[in-house]
């Protein structure tokens, strides 16, 4: 087990080296990506602020609570963009052109190679902004020591949850000719997860909490932090995480059997 972990770690360190070399080759692009994400964060925060200029509360949250939630989902987004995002776009291309064959031949998990093969260093600098926002709004709403402590584990679980759900969606590319539509679907579900679950009506909330739980990614951890939900929801969160991991394992295996090289 430890040997396998070390092996994967050494592979990932090589991936990081190559990705760094790639990122530093295109310096203008490197800075433009930072600027692009900065604009996205700014627009996300400003949108909430402008809406709150007109109203005092949205659901049970005031402006600072809502902005803390937004900062939390932006932190997940920043890590996602840095570690995973690019790989989803490449994955559809690799399936279409047959380059995925090489991932199947390597003595390492094909899923790992498909989704961890590119690391985007441009997004690393944006972490200061997103985490800075999270800390700022955390101070504004006067989080207690206990609330600060539970943020990192909840963040990790949320990130893994999003990762599993998105790969599950991406596996459908084994059955489609073009991957663009699937990637758009993935981005649209991300867009849904950036809003708190209380804004949705009961039936939609149920579907997007249990059937396809994108609303759990941001809402559940933040509600646990705000102590609006008890810890049993955390257990449900972990239970759903296990279920969707099993589903991912099943569909990934099925997808690989379906894969027929360049004609897949």
């Amino acid at each position: 087990m430890i040997r396998t972990f070390k092996h994967y770690l050494s592979v990932y360190s090589k991936i990081l080296e190559v990705s760094f070399a790639k990122s530093s080759s295109f310096r203008l692009h490197f800075f433009l990506v930072i600027l692009m994400d900065f604009l996205f964060y700014l627009v996300s925060i400003q949108t909430i602020k402008i809406i709150y200029d007109q109203v005092g509360m949205i659901g049970p949250w005031d402006e600072n609570h809502f902005l803390f939630f937004t900062a939390f989902v932006l932190c997940i987004d920043q890590i996602h963009m840095m570690v995973l995002s690019q790989n989803f776009w490449y994955f559809s291309e690799y399936l279409r052109t047959g380059e995925f064959d090489y991932y199947l031949l390597r003595p390492i998990s094909s899923l790992f190679m498909a989704f961890f093969n590119n690391f985007n260093f441009s997004y690393l600098l944006n972490a200061f902004f997103t985490w800075g926002l999270l800390i700022y709004y955390g101070i504004e709403i006067q989080l207690t020591f206990y609330q600060w402590i539970i943020i990192p584990p909840l963040f990790v679980v949320s990130f893994i949850f999003q990762f599993i759900l998105e790969i599950l969606i991406a596996t459908s590319m084994f059955w489609t000719i073009k991957g663009l539509g699937v990637n758009i679907l993935r981005l649209e579900l991300q867009r849904l997860s950036r809003w708190p679950d209380f804004i949705f009506a009961r039936y939609f909330k149920f579907v997007f909490t249990f059937a396809f739980p994108v609303l759990l990614i941001g809402s559940t951890p933040v509600k646990i932090i705000f102590q609006e939900a008890n810890f049993s929801i955390y257990l449900l969160f972990l239970l759903l995480l296990s279920c969707f991991s099993a589903l991912l394992y099943f569909f990934w295996k099925k997808g690989i059997r379906q894969y027929d090289s360049a004609s897949s």
């Binding site: 489609t176 073009k178 539509g181």
Partner: protein
Amino acid sequence: MKFYPRLSQANEIIKMTWHEFFAYRVDFFLKSIIPIIVFFLVKYFLWLNIYTGNGNELIKGMSFQEMMQYHLWVLATSLVILGTNSFNMAQDIRFGKITPFLLYPMPYAFHQMAVFIGQTIFHFFVIFISFSFLIGFNLIDLPVDTITLILSIPYLLLCATMWFIIQFIFGAAAFWMEETWVLRIMFIIVAEFLSGKIFPLTFFPQFFQNLIYHLPFPHFSYFPVMVLMQKISFTDLSNYLVSLSWQLIVLILIASKIWRKGINNYTAAGM
């Protein structure tokens, strides 16, 4: 004399564009329909929550019903105006795919424009059918004035042309840059915010509104929606048309200059 062959060329390209839409039906559904559903779901529930939660009848002079009508029109105008075909342009330049167009008796920009028109017409029908269905079954409340709708078509087409030219300029940046998608996404992020796609521009402070009204952004959502909702006077509309026309002329000149400069840099093997 040259007009008719051009028309038949455009006709063939438009047919090919539609053919592609129908060939990849799942992809079309995921690309075009899912964003509409998500967009509307989020807008509907968010504003419902804001209006009911705060007991507000009006926000910035708009009732909940008007806000929903605003967002439905935003949805419709976005599909008609904000085409995506020039997204592949950078790839065409980098991989040398524009070479045949330098030899064909058909400019590359003409081909792109014809694809854009094909997309726009197709999206217009998608909107027309889906809105007719939703209105017919009383699922949405959207008063439509036929005369306003017909009169607004030339204005909408001008707005769509401006969007196309801006996207064309970003695509042409591929003559000098390795990756141009980042420029396009940056522009889309800013445009969505400043065009009134997220909320009406009246939500911004007055001085900021005055500033934005002189930029191209409101022509992508806010102004067309205000025209369709009959919330502007004829004088306002003619002012918008004048401002849009000169912005369009400037953009066409910039685009053609960039294209000519880029073509001088271009090697047939790509960039």
